[in-house]
C-alpha cells in the first residue's frame, strides 16, 4: 500500500465558545491517496470546514493524529507546520483570497516567496502555472481587473505553483455562476489528471460532489458515509 497523501486518524476538534464546549469533530478517520479526486460533502455546521482546516494544517486537532506524506504533523511547531503546509498543500478558497492590488503573477508566486525562492525563478514558475490554467495573457492584470472565474483560476494556479501533494478546495464554485463554475471544475479536474495532485473538494453541492471519484459525507462531526462514486465504478 502506498503512503497516503494525507491521513487523519481519529481526530476530534473541540471549540470553547463563551464557556460552552462545541464538538465540531467527534472522531474522524480519513485517508486520501496520492492523485485521488474526492469530495467532502455535508450541510453547514456539519464539521466539514473544520475537517478541511485540519487537513490543510491550518488548525490543530484536539486529539488524534494527522500525517502528511507519512509525517506526523501534530507534533510540529507552528513554524515547522508553516513550512510543511507551504511544501505539501495548496488552497483554493470560496472567496478567492487574492491580494487585490497585486498583479496575478505576483499573487501566484506568493507561496514561492515563503519558500525562499529567488524572484526570477518565482516569476518563471508563476508564469508557467498561469499558462496551465489558461491565463497566460492575464499575468500583469491586478486581481480586481479579472472576472470571478479568472480570479478563481489565478487562485488555482497559486495553489499549484508549489507542486503540492494535495489541493484543498473549499466551495471553489460557491461565488461563481454555473457556467464559470463548470469551467473552474474542468480546470481542477484536468490538473488532477495531468499533474497527479490529489484534489479534495469541500462542498455542500451534491452535483459538484458527484463529479469526483469519491464522496465523503460528514454530518454532526462524524463521517456518515465514505463511498466511491457510481460514475467512477
Amino acid at each position: 500500500m502506498t503512503t497516503p497523501a494525507i491521513e487523519a486518524v481519529d481526530v476530534t476538534r473541540v471549540y470553547s465558545l463563551g464557556g460552552t464546549e462545541v464538538q465540531a469533530l467527534r472522531g474522524v478517520s480519513l485517508r486520501v491517496a496520492p492523485g485521488e479526486y474526492a469530495a467532502i460533502i455535508g450541510p453547514s455546521g456539519s464539521g466539514k470546514s473544520t475537517l478541511m482546516h485540519l487537513l490543510g494544517l491550518l488548525d490543530r486537532p484536539s486529539s488524534g493524529v494527522i500525517t502528511v506524506g507519512g509525517r506526523d504533523a501534530t507534533s510540529l511547531s507552528d513554524s515547522e507546520l508553516a513550512v510543511l503546509r507551504n511544501q505539501t498543500i495548496g488552497f483554493v478558497f470560496q472567496s478567492f483570497q487574492l491580494l487585490s492590488r497585486t498583479a496575478a503573477i505576483d499573487n501566484v508566486a506568493l507561496p514561492l516567496l515563503y519558500r525562499g525562492i529567488g524572484k526570477t525563478e518565482r516569476r518563471e514558475r508563476a508564469a508557467a502555472a498561469l499558462d496551465a490554467v489558461g491565463l497566460g495573457d492575464r499575468k500583469g492584470h491586478k486581481a480586481t481587473e479579472l472576472s470571478g472565474g479568472e480570479q478563481q483560476r489565478v487562485a488555482i494556479a497559486r495553489a499549484l505553483v508549489g507542486e503540492p501533494q494535495l489541493l484543498l478546495a473549499d466551495e471553489p464554485t460557491g461565488n461563481l455562476d454555473t457556467r464559470t463554475g463548470g469551467e473552474v471544475m474542468e480546470t481542477l479536474e484536468r490538473l488532477n489528471r495531468d499533474s497527479g495532485v490529489a484534489v479534495v473538494l469541500v462542498t455542500h453541492d451534491r452535483d459538484i460532489a458527484l463529479r469526483t471519484q469519491r464522496q465523503i459525507y460528514v454530518r454532526d462531526g462524524l463521517i456518515e458515509r465514505d463511498e466511491p462514486s457510481a460514475m467512477a465504478q
Binding site: L58, D78, S79, A82, V83, S95, Q97, R101, Y114
Partner: protein, 394 residues
C-alpha cells in the same frame, strides 16, 4: 523569506495606502523637524553670545566688588577711582586698566529726548575693549583729570539725536547738564541683548559728580596674551585684598563668562530638544496606532499569507519593516525640513541658527528607534494571528 523580499512587500503595502502612510509619518516629520530646528536655534544663540563676549575684546579680566556668581544680585561697590591707578601701578601697565560707572539718564538736544545709558569711563577704554571710533576722538586722560563735560556717542544715539547732522562739536544735555560731543563710536551691535550703540561715554570723574556717587562699578584689565590672563587675575585679587584686607572682590575672565554662559545656553538647547523629542514620541505613538489599525484591517491578508506558508517571523518582520520604514522616511523628510527651516530662519529672521552635526544624526537614529519600539507590538500581534481565525474574518 529573505529580508530584501520582506522589504519589498512592506514598501508595496505602504505605497498601497499613500495618504495614510504620509499622515502617519507627519507626526515623526514634525518631531524630527522640530528637534533639528530648535537645536539649531539653541546652538546658534550660543555661538552668537560667544561671539558677543569675544567681540568685547580679548584677554579681558573684569574686577568687581563682592563675591559674584553669574546671575547673583549686585553688591554695593566699594571700588574707588583711586583703585584704578593703584591696580595700574601694581601690574606695571596703567594704560591697560579701564573703568566704568554707569547710570540711565535722559539726554536731550533741543526738544528731542532719548533715554540712554551714560557710562563714566577713563581714557583706556580703547586699549582694553574693541570699541572703534568712527568720527572725532575718544576721551583723554586730561578730560578725566579736569572733569570736562565732553561726550562720545554710540552710533544709535547719534542717529536719533542728530540724524544726518554733524554731531561733533554740538551740545547735548545729560540730566540737565550740558556736554560737548567730541566723538562718535562705530556701530558695534549688542551684547546680551543690550545695544552698546545706545551708550554715551563721558569722563568717569564727571560722571561721579553727575550721578552724585564716589564709587565705580567695575574695573577691566587687559592681559597682553591669553597665557597672562590667569596669573594677572591672581595678581589683581592679591593686590586688592592687600589694600582692603576685610573686603571681598572678584576677578572674572572672559573664558569664565563664556563657560557659564555656555552651560546655561547648553541647558536651554537641551530643554528645547527635549520638548521637541516629546513630539517625536507622540509621532511614534501615532505610528503604533495606525499599525494596529492596519493589522486589524489586513487580518485576512495575514491569514492568507500564513496559509500559503508564511511563518510567524515572516509576518512580524514584514510589519516591523513597515513601521520602521514609516518613521525612517518620516525622519529623513523631517531632517530635510528641519535643516531647510533653520537655513531660512538664519537668512530671513534675526534668529541665529547653526546646524550642529549631531542633531540630524541623533534625530534620524531616534526616529528609526521609535519605529522599532512602537512597531513591535502591532507586528507581534500580526505574527500571532491564527491562520484559520484570520481567514474566516470578512
Amino acid at each position: 523569506m529573505r529580508l530584501a523580499e520582506a522589504f519589498r512587500v512592506a514598501v508595496g503595502a505602504l505605497r498601497a495606502n499613500r495618504l495614510r502612510s504620509l499622515l502617519t509619518m507627519l507626526g515623526v516629520i514634525i518631531g524630527v523637524g522640530a528637534v533639528v530646528v530648535l537645536v539649531a536655534i539653541g546652538s546658534g544663540a550660543k555661538q552668537e553670545v560667544e561671539a558677543q563676549v569675544e567681540g568685547l575684546g580679548s584677554n579681558i579680566i573684569f574686577v568687581v566688588p563682592g563675591s559674584v556668581e553669574f546671575g547673583s544680585a549686585p553688591t554695593i561697590s566699594r571700588l574707588q577711582l583711586e583703585d584704578v591707578d593703584y591696580l595700574g601701578r601694581v601690574i606695571g601697565n596703567p594704560d591697560a586698566v579701564a573703568t566704568t560707572v554707569s547710570s540711565g539718564e535722559t539726554v536731550s538736544v533741543g526738544s528731542d529726548e532719548v533715554f540712554s545709558t551714560i557710562a563714566g569711563t577713563n581714557a583706556n577704554v580703547p586699549n582694553v575693549f574693541t570699541r572703534p571710533i568712527a568720527r572725532g576722538e575718544y576721551l583723554t586722560a586730561t578730560d578725566v583729570d579736569t572733569r570736562r563735560r565732553v561726550a562720545v556717542l554710540g552710533s544709535a544715539v547719534s542717529d536719533r539725536l542728530f540724524g544726518d547732522l554733524e554731531p561733533l562739536g554740538r551740545q547735548i544735555t545729560i540730566a540737565g547738564v550740558r556736554f560737548r560731543v567730541i566723538g562718535v563710536f562705530e556701530e558695534v551691535g549688542s551684547t546680551f541683548g543690550v545695544s552698546r550703540d545706545d551708550e554715551i561715554h563721558i569722563p568717569v570723574s564727571t560722571a561721579q559728580q553727575l550721578f552724585g556717587v564716589d564709587r565705580i562699578d567695575a574695573i577691566a584689565v587687559k592681559a597682553p596674551t591669553i597665557d597672562d590672563v590667569e596669573p594677572l587675575r591672581k595678581e589683581l585679587l592679591a593686590a586688592l585684598s592687600e589694600k582692603y584686607p576685610d573686603e571681598e572682590f572678584s576677578a572674572v575672565t572672559q573664558s569664565q563668562i563664556l563657560g557659564t554662559l555656555g552651560q546655561i545656553l547648553g541647558l536651554l538647547t537641551l530643554v528645547l530638544a527635549a520638548i521637541a523629542a516629546i513630539s517625536l514620541l507622540v509621532g511614534g505613538v501615532g505610528v503604533s496606532n495606525i499599525m494596529l489599525v492596519s493589522v486589524r484591517e489586513r487580518t485576512r491578508e495575514i491569514g492568507l499569507r500564513k496559509a500559503l506558508g508564511a511563518r510567524r517571523r515572516d509576518i512580524t518582520v514584514q510589519f516591523l519593516i513597515e513601521a520602521v520604514l514609516l518613521t525612517t522616511i518620516g525622519g529623513v523628510i523631517g531632517m530635510a525640513i528641519g535643516i531647510g527651516s533653520a537655513l531660512l530662519a538664519n537668512a530671513f529672521t534675526p534668529l541665529p541658527a547653526v546646524i550642529a552635526w549631531w542633531s540630524p544624526v541623533l534625530a534620524f537614529t531616534v526616529s528609526v528607534a521609535v519605529g522599532v519600539f512602537f512597531g513591535v507590538v502591532p507586528a507581534r500581534r500580526a505574527g500571532k494571528l491564527e491562520p484559520v481565525v484570520a481567514l474566516r474574518s470578512e
